[in-house]
């Protein structure tokens, strides 16, 4: 209880950059900070996290925080499941309540085609030991009694993929908790420090240029998600990534109304109700590429119209705020993770609209890669090489709208 009232800095402010670090992590989002956090557990503490804004200013602080592991491919399901399991322990491990609410996740099916895709996911998941199953309209009604589950609508609910351990978390808490943990281990967190160039000589990155001077690094990690292809360009490593925006919005808070996460891919909407009582809602990624994070009216119109098909009573709920964040989309909707052709330069990219749930496992596996020089099995399917070898891991059917 006393701890509650101690005013302790979460992370130190660091006046200057050192000349050299064993590991330089570019990007102070959830992945960059998680990597610093897990590096500490492996005893690697000479680490700098360089962030051009404040920590969590990118997608980490803008996402709608859905955590789940009911992916379509065995590779994906295994990987995300490991992450959710880490998340389950993370709050306790960091002594920071991440407000992780495993309230259950429902992906609605409005067509028999959707049911078919879900049946496959449920079975792949089951074989991996992931709690995920197909349920009928009656069970959907029980889980979401305020939702309209009738047959006389444009998009009747024919069933759903139910994933009980899925849920939502407090994104900022994840960022702050990881930052505190990394800082406590000695890693330096440098906000407002933008990387402007990478010097490459042959197979190695020799220096990192920043708005606060040039530094040397043993290993450089690119954890910049939406900006990852720009950073890779600096190293002359082409990434098959396009950057788009994804939009989201919240309503004014109301009393408890919805206890599960609802996703409808066909209607391009998903929503949950936060512990504060706000509905957090989002849609699918915008098809055009851009780095400009301003939203569109179309998004608000389509999203509200579709949400009201499921919850007509939300017609009186008021939209309070909307925003957009960057998403780095890979061709197969799976991440690009690990080594590149440059020996001491690794990436975490291709997170599209679903990377927040992966933060702990990304941090853990990248840290292992740095420490051992070997790619952990869990992320072997996600190397950049797969695009040269044509070994894609397609999550299109499971990741397009349900982040």
């Amino acid at each position: 209880m006393r701890e509650l009232f101690r005013k302790r800095r979460m992370w130190r402010s660091r006046p200057d950059l050192k000349k050299r670090y064993d590991v330089v992590i570019i990007g102070g989002g959830s992945h960059g900070l998680a990597t610093a956090y897990y590096l500490r557990q492996l005893g690697i503490t000479d680490v700098a996290v360089l962030e051009k804004g404040y920590i969590g200013s990118g997608a980490a602080g803008r996402n709608t925080t859905i955590l789940r592991s009911n992916y379509k491919t065995p590779e994906g399901a295994r990987f995300y499941d490991a992450s959710v399991k880490l998340y389950e322990r993370l709050g306790k491990e960091m002594e920071f309540n991440l407000l992780f609410s495993q309230c259950g996740h429902l992906t609605l099916a409005h067509t028999d085609r959707a049911l078919f895709v879900m049946a496959n996911r449920a079975e792949v998941n089951r074989l991996q030991g992931i709690d995920s199953r197909l349920i009928g309209p009656d069970e959907v009604k029980e889980l979401a009694p305020t939702m309209y589950v009738g047959e006389d609508t444009t998009y009747p609910i024919m069933g759903a993929l139910y994933h009980p351990p899925g849920g939502i978390i407090r994104h900022d808490a994840v960022v702050w908790g990881l930052a505190r943990g990394a800082d406590a281990g000695g890693a330096e967190i440098h906000p407002y420090t933008e990387v402007t160039g990478l010097q490459r000589s042959g197979d190695r990155i020799t220096a990192v240029q920043t708005t606060r001077g040039t530094i040397q690094a043993g290993t450089v990690l690119n954890c910049t998600a939406g900006w990852s292809s720009l950073i890779c360009d600096m190293a002359d490593v082409p990434l098959p990534i396009t950057t788009h925006i994804l939009q989201a919005c919240v309503t004014e808070p109301v009393k408890p109304f919805l206890d599960v996460v609802i996703v409808s891919s066909q209607m391009h909407v998903y929503l949950s109700q936060s512990d504060r009582g706000e509905f957090v809602m989002g849609s699918e990624i915008e098809p055009w590429t851009t780095y400009r994070t301003s939203g569109t009216l179309n998004f608000l119109q389509d999203l509200t119209r579709h949400t009201l098909e499921l919850f007509p009573q939300l017609e009186q709920a008021r939209i309070l705020r909307s925003w957009a964040g960057l998403c780095d989309l890979s061709p197969d909707y799976s991440p690009i993770l690990g080594q590149t052709e440059v020996e001491n330069f690794h990436v975490s990219a291709g997170w599209g609209t679903y990377g927040f749930k992966a933060a702990p496992i990304v941090g853990k596996t990248l840290a292992e890669l740095v420490a051992s020089g070997r790619t952990p099995d869990l992320i072997a399917p996600f190397t950049l090489e797969r695009f040269y070898e044509d070994n894609l891991v397609s999550e299109l059917a499971a990741a397009a709208v349900s982040h």
Binding site: G91, N97, T146, Y148, D275, L308, R321, N391
Partner: protein, 955 residues
Amino acid sequence: MSRLAQQPGERIDRSQPVSFTFDGKPAAGFAGDTIVSALYAGGRRVFSRSFKYHRPRGELCGCGQCANSLFQIEGAPGIRGCSEPIREGLRVVHQNAWPSLDFDVMRATDRVGGPFTPVGFYYKTFIRPRRLWPVYEKVLRSAAGLGRLPRRQDEREWETEYRRRRCDVLVIGGGAAGLAAATRAAELGADVVLCDEDAVLGGLLGIEGGHERVRELEGRARDAGVEILSGAPALGFFDGLVPVWQGSTLHQVRADQHVVATGAIQQPLVFADNDLPGVMLSGGARRLAAAYAVKPGERAVVATVDDRGLDDALALSAVGLDVVVADLRPDAGGGELAGRIRAAGITLLTGHTVVRAQGRDRVERAVVAKVDARGRALGDGSTHDCDLIAVSGGSAGALSLLLQAGGRAIYRPEIAGFAVTELPAGLHAAGAAAGHDRAEAVEVSGAIAGAEAAAALGRSPNGVADARERLAQLPAAAPVATPPAQASDGGRRGKAFVDLDEDVTVKDIKRATLEGYDSLELSKRYTTVTMGPSQGRFSQLPAARVLAAETGLDLGTVGLTTARPPWSTVPMGVLAGRPLEAAKRSAVHRRHEELGATVRWAGDWRRAYDYGDPVGESVAVQAAAGIIDVSTLGKLLVRGPDAGELLDRLYPNRMSNLAPDRIRYGVTTSEAGRITDDGTVCRIDDETFYVTTTSAGVAGVEQSFTWWLETWGLNAHITDLTQGVAAMNLAGPQARGVLTGLTDLDCSAEAFKYLDARHAEIAGVPCMLLRIGFVGELGYEIHCPSVNAEHVWDAIVRAGSKVGLRPFGLEPQRVLRLQKLHVIVGQDTDSEMTPYGAGMDWIVKLDKQQDFIGRWALEHTAAHEPSVRLVGFTTPGGELPTEGAVVLGTDGAPEGQVTSARRSPRLGQVIGLATVPAALAGDGAQIWISDAGRRIAATVTTKPFYDPEGEVLRS
């Protein structure tokens, strides 16, 4: 009910009493009253309970901007009580208090919880044991939230509409500046729309005694033809598109020029217990009196840092309040207003401010003291009995829309706030939003903005330079004192709020800063300051001041948080417009309904799945004949000298060598060589091809074809005929006989061969006939103009009835095609399937000269064994696996899946298609299917189950 004598320009109509209820008890007011003005007149002072501590809250702004008087009306939460008009019979209830607004048990969180719930409380507690968190969470959840939504509602009840409006100039804000701008632009010939969130135009001028002038300005604007939308907030700026919400209508206004005259928002002051009911913005108190003839109190202490507060004090005094003024400025601005205050005999304490409010659940006293630069009281100060503390903490320009539109905010110490610079072209700011605060300057700046907007449209206004000159000559506004981050008497009791919506105190922000949340964005996220329903209107600047004081940064560096739409919170129903989903129906859809078809969605289409007897229907097709409506197929006409070349580059197989009147099957792939669609290509003549696509795929195919056509610059064009042309498939052993009776065409096997196309009249209608057979029988796909489709359908059904022809739906079609192992793209293929994986090696012509879409990837794929292959299977045990069930690899891991499975009535066995590991893709291989726990053995086959050599098809 007590009202002041008639006020000049009051909004109420005393001849029209209105009765409504509040929390079930009768309440009354007049037409023109808001909920708050009516209840206030009736003596109510507490309007809500705060979000976290459930402290009683009174009115703050009086104009629909604050979150202090949010009510619930029927199913609608969050109604702004200080702007929502009362109507006869309205049932208003409070939010977030139990059992009643005046006695709320949750107030305990304030009394005992206050010190025990420091900022960030949740993050630091309930961490272990982890399994108890869901229990705590439930408790937290039920304490959160303000209003309530109905648990059940079957459909939308509120009818809303979109309206699109294109105009030359959109003026946002209908105060003096906006009205002047709109009038000027309209008089110069521009088509002007003006919107204002208030139900009554005039902005501040109307409240501050200028209602006559407002009437004049409004009259001129109307005469000049300005379209005026009142009670209509502009919600945001979306690349020039501005949604304006008015009642049940969402106007989507697109203008060439925008004038933003959104005024400024009076700011509160921060001192101990500055949230007690009775602490109000001075402008809000004045508005109650001026617009609604409600006396806001008897004795007021007015605390101000600017002239506006002084002006408001005079107005309050004029309606009979006993007023004491505490002006933070050492000379009370040194202007004419200070003189008038003194002349009116009002006590004026200069260099003073309120350091504490006192009272039990409402203001009873104010402690006023001289303070140092950091806001600390010098000496004990004086205590004043009062029931109103009216504050004016300076003004914050309503800049959100300007910032959303690309302007940049900079801090200007002389106005103790932010202003906007670097406005993009086409955007003009006027009035208080542009930093003007004297009535005359406000109006002149509006006229200039209007003229500039018109000039940008090519009109030639004159006198603009003169007006600018005049504006520059006008006396500058009196200086504003920068309020301290917190005024304090040094006492520890009481809470000093920075954000009333979220119950965030100065202490919270300070504490957060110490913990490392030392930028406004981090502080916002940690303390939730500015995140409530009033969107930071009253808390952003005060929070920035605390942060600046704590970090030693200047306010310009602390900055503002990003301006995000919507500027006014807006019900989802308004944004959603009409509940409208486009459904496509084929030209013969009526017939399906008459036949009692089971109609279901197939993409955007409504389609007949069956006519009640899928088994019987499929048997009929194989025994006699059947007809199925396939109008949903995409149909593209590709025409031009380069049409053949274009198709050769788009399809992996060759199309240019197709002879006229011949048909070829084709798949399209992505650049990665993945199957994207399939269909037939029929050559009509040298330069014309008729291409069909899948029902769901046509839009994507058309888009991609057109894109490549443009990129390659070939001479051809593409026309989508999907909706204009209907199609039906007549199939079965009797199909030829049925067709022959309806046409002059020679339909013999020799004259009209498999994969031939013919033009002919069927039942008098010119049709195109394609001899293809998706269902595996002798068949004709008949394409005709949609307008004649019912006639052709009827003729075929009538002619066929003699031989046992039956209409069949999608379900029997699926069984029939499965017997032939015909693939449905999107069902049997997923986003990763290549033609090789789908067993269509023959379709990829790598020896083709042209580069074609996907060539590079397919060359690579051809050299490697695909990881899975699509094959047919049967289950010897007769189990029917679920579509989607998993096919296991040799090591028992999931490798492939069942993509289609049916019980075939004709074959009397279960048949299907599945992706299986390449090693298991040979005829006769054994595979295991894992289906929701069941293990099903299956046998692979690569040959069609029915008519494997295609003799029937060609017959």
